[in-house]
């Protein structure tokens, strides 16, 4: 059920990207899609009553191995957050440039290129 909700979030982002006419809304849609993927990966690695996969001096290794959540998806999520930050920076740079050229964020008015 949780996974399905995450997928619904993914679809909301996809919907915004495809149907919206405002560049800002399109960027927001892409960000939501990326966030939903991050959430999905994190939920996959969770284990009931889990602890963070960071060992401290008080915890024994046995308890750590038995309780810690999956570290691999977390590493992937950090990487993917950074990637989406890069994409967003580039997107905003292009959007601001487009605004300067056309004076609007509305793609219906921007569309100079044909399909």
């Amino acid at each position: 059920m949780l996974y399905t909700l995450v997928f619904a979030l993914f679809l909301i982002g996809l919907y915004a990207t495809i149907t919206k006419r405002n560049l800002i809304k399109i960027i927001i849609g892409v960000i939501i899609m990326e966030q939903s993927v991050n959430l999905f990966l994190l939920l996959v690695g969770y284990r009931m009553g889990g602890m963070a996969p960071i060992l401290d001096k008080e915890t024994s290794l046995q308890e750590f191995v038995a309780r810690a959540v999956d570290p691999l998806p977390q590493a992937l999520v950090i990487t993917s957050i950074v990637i989406s930050l890069g994409t967003i920076a580039l997107m905003v740079a292009i959007a601001i440039r487009i605004y300067e050229k056309y004076g609007t964020y509305d793609i219906a008015e921007i569309r100079r290129l044909r399909g």
């Binding site: 963070a52 960071i54 001096k57 950090i78 920076a89 905003v92 740079a93 601001i96 300067e100």
Partner: protein, 154 residues
């Protein structure tokens, strides 16, 4: 966005009080990435936010005399190259690219700052790189209007 003279006196004072802890926090996150939550990337972002705070509070002109955005590109490339060079040294010493050669030679004590081999070094490299490049891009975005007026549009 930044006015030439910066923001009001209160903002400047607050920024002066807050900025050092922000930098220390960024440094802490970067250096202890292998022991606690954090790491080079969030540390670098915190650092960049500190720089941005200073520039926004004091205004472009005065702040850029101290931290010119053009100089940041040196640290940006330098950090990335440092990471690559660590990898290359690994391949020369251990036969595998990105091999953790320091850990193999000097294991260090676990739970101490000097442990985990190349990891703190890579964290520093990433932190340097991320701080520099994010600072640069935010400055480029905020100063964009100035740039657009000066530049010869084609």
């Amino acid at each position: 966005m930044p006015e030439k003279e910066g923001m009001s006196l209160i903002v400047k004072e607050v920024a002066r009080l807050i900025a050092p802890p922000i930098f220390i926090f960024g440094l802490y996150l970067t250096l202890t990435g292998h022991l606690t939550p954090g790491g080079g990337f969030p540390g670098g972002v915190v650092f960049a936010c500190g720089f941005i705070l200073v520039v926004l509070a004091y205004g472009g002109k005065r702040a850029f005399r101290r931290l010119p955005p053009e100089g940041a590109s040196k640290y940006d490339s330098g950090g990335a190259l440092l990471f690559l060079v660590i990898g290359l040294i690994g391949s020369l010493v251990g036969g595998h690219f990105l091999y953790n050669f320091i850990q193999a030679a000097l294991p260090g004590t676990v739970f101490h700052l000097l442990s985990a081999g190349t990891m703190p070094l890579i964290n520093i490299a990433i932190g340097m790189k991320v701080a520099a490049c994010l600072f640069m891009v935010v400055m480029a975005l905020t100063l964009f209007r100035l740039a657009g007026e000066k530049g010869g549009e084609s």
